[in-house]
Symmetry: C2
Subunit: 186 residues, 2 copies
DNA sequence: CCATACCTACCAAGTAGTAGGCAGGCAATA
DNA sequence: TATTGCCTGCCTACTACTTGGTAGGTATGG
């Protein structure tokens, strides 16, 4: 892996574990094994790092959702896979979604970063809305009301469930919060 | 208001706006109008401040839920009031629940603080479970499945909805995420 | 030859926290 | 009543350390 990617990976893990304000270039330096000053060669300011982090995260995440859409047959299975993405990304309750972490400290970010977070939410909602629409049509998700509203609730549940599981460190809390929706998959 | 309370109020607002790691004793000093060093007289370390903050927050919040339980007649109206507490506490999308903010950076807190956060979640769940149980019995909330699972989903929705609304700065996003549940109130 | 990627050695500003002093209130005591 | 002494709450002045960031140099490979 090239150094820049290694820095991004390390920064993403730290941001998702502790929050963006709670890690420093010194931490990255230790993790990646280059001097602190050298990091500025790849990311001149920490704001630059934040921007690249959130953009990369959104792109990767949306690529995963696209892959799910092609891989899984029914909308119900797609929804189950959506929850699984978050679940495995949480590493057993040790971290949360980058956008969850960034949302809290949104006021310390540049507009560009905030826009990426909102775009993440918007694209997630659009994907989920499609899923609920198909799930309703084909019957692979039970009790579907308005797909748009279902999508909004589902995104909120997924993000909130992460917070609760992060606090307790127990993935069973994530499962518990998601169950009411997951049970509707046929 | 006495100085200690003023410090707690200011710290709570800053923590909920930016996160606990993103404000300093210097910020409190400016807001409250005493010297930075004097803050250590009230809170020897920032960890002490975190502990008092989260304890006070949990107690205040639970007192509000008790008040709702006594004030509102039906379980449905109690649930509506629950969402309203969060809504008005968000100050138009400028901040989130303290425990939402703290959950992200849980790894930088002492066990005592983490325990308070989990207790907040546990007590919220217990309260919500009672509400869904009564709502099911009296018919003031429609389509109630297992009250415990409903409660877990509802807490997750409330917390997740805050994150999304915080990122966009629009309270309509909170309303949108909560709607699927709120619509079930009869 | 020159760009890339790294280095050492800094810097100014900000971080939590400490040491020690001082003013005023309050309460026990002479 | 006057005096003593302690406690609370704040102050100035400081420390040790970390923060993001800069300046300028060097090695290496196309």
């Amino acid at each position: 892996m090239d150094t820049k990617t290694a820095l991004l990976e390390s920064a993403e893990r730290l941001a998702r574990q502790r929050g963006f304000d709670a890690f420093s270039y010194a931490d990255l330096s230790r993790n990646v094994g280059i001097r602190k000053a050298s990091i500025h060669h790849h990311f001149p300011t920490k704001a630059d790092l934040a921007a690249e982090l959130v953009t990369r995260y959104r792109e990767t995440f949306m690529a995963e959702l696209s892959a799910i859409e092609q891989r899984e047959r029914t909308a119900g299975q797609q929804l189950a896979a959506y929850f699984d993405v978050y679940k495995s990304a949480m590493r057993g309750g040790a971290q949360v979604c980058l956008c969850v972490s960034f949302s809290v400290s949104v006021s310390s970010f540049a507009p560009l970063v905030v826009r990426q977070i909102n775009r993440f939410h918007a694209e997630s909602l659009a994907w989920l809305e499609r899923v609920f629409e198909r799930g309703k049509a084909e019957g692979s998700i039970a009790l579907v009301g308005d797909p748009s509203e279902e999508a909004q609730a589902c995104l909120a549940v997924a993000e909130g469930a992460q917070l609760i599981a992060r606090a307790s460190g127990q993935m069973s809390d994530f499962d518990g919060a998601v169950r009411v929706i997951a049970q509707r998959i046929r």
